[in-house]
Homo-oligomer: 207 residues x 2
């Protein structure tokens, strides 16, 4: 099965490469790094990653949408949002990390569904689409084919949760053990929900 | 200050981009992705990253050596090891993640010093240079300018420890909070040391 990771300028590095590390341990998955036009895409942390152009005709599998500063302008790019909507509709599963859920929310596919996001950016994400049932305290949320995680590092916990749902908890724990990752297995336990109440008062950096 | 991250074929993705995420939050640091010849370098997880060639004439700052399957052959590449030795000697600090400590150990710069590595690959790393005081239970180890971490995810804990040593624990905690990372602050607490005893009995994968 294809794992299609959508990159864009100013994506947050660990939003992508935490999940990639975990998914890369599964021989069943083939990882594709994609962007609208292909070529090199630079992350918020000045990393340049090679991507292939998105092939909408032969698209299937697992969509991964990271967050980062780049999402702030992309939610207003209706051409990009329409493309994301097409990709999500053609996917078996859709995983978002951090403010990647704002991109997915903008497609209206999450309307009436539960979802979460980075807690320091929560007020902004809520404002993108108030018709989503935003969960203010969750490490990650599952609703149908949609997995949405809290900020940056929560993407690793969600991805292991996704792997547990597909391949069993034992497989997820084995990958966590192999990568010496202390997996937070409880998706409802969110030590960073405390950051949410200040989300509209303090400036958000690097998310 | 320059942060010089040395990439090579089959490096482990999160070994690099966990620390990069944390270091990227510091305006004092400039991140450089380097390889011997420059150009695209592919990780174990099929990620292609753009690198610049290493400039040994104007080299200084913080050296970061990731681990991964690629280290298995590189420890026998004495030209590469001599280059790593020159870079480490010209650096203010040297950080290794996972089996990256095997590369540094091969330079003999760690002889008589304490260091650690991935626990599932520990027997192999010890065999690369038994003159290092290998610590079998540590999330990360500090000895002089050398910071060595345990496997993959431990690189994030070590990097936050490095940031705490340079900028204070408050700064490190703020970065952990911003990235919603549950930092293991105690470098001597190692939940994965249990994996060590089997290191010479079970095949090692993806480290």
């Amino acid at each position: 099965m294809d794992v299609n990771i959508i990159l864009f300028p100013d994506f947050e590095t660990l939003d992508v490469f935490g999940p990639v590390e975990m998914l890369g341990h599964l021989e069943e998955y083939h990882l594709n790094f994609l962007s609208i036009k292909g070529g090199l895409i630079k992350s918020r942390q000045n990393l340049e990653v090679m991507t292939k152009p998105i092939d909408t005709k032969n698209y299937s599998g697992i969509l991964v949408l990271p967050g980062g500063q780049g999402t702030r302008t992309l939610v207003e790019d209706l051409g990009f949002i329409e493309l994301i909507k097409q990709l999500a509709q053609a996917s078996d599963y859709c995983l978002t990390v951090c403010t990647g859920s704002a991109l997915l929310a903008r497609t209206n596919l999450l309307n009436g569904r539960k979802a979460t996001s980075n807690k320091k950016a929560f007020a902004w994400v809520e404002s993108v689409n108030p018709q989503v049932k935003w969960v203010s305290a969750a490490r990650w949320v599952v609703d149908g084919i949609y997995y949405t995680s809290s900020g940056v590092s929560a993407g690793m916990d969600m991805t292991l949760g996704f792997i547990a749902d597909r391949f069993g908890t034992g497989k997820a724990r084995a990958i966590a053990d192999s990568t010496e990752y202390q997996w937070s297995e409880d998706k409802d336990k969110d030590p960073f929900s405390k950051n949410n109440e200040n989300s509209n008062k303090t400036p958000v950096k690097s998310v």
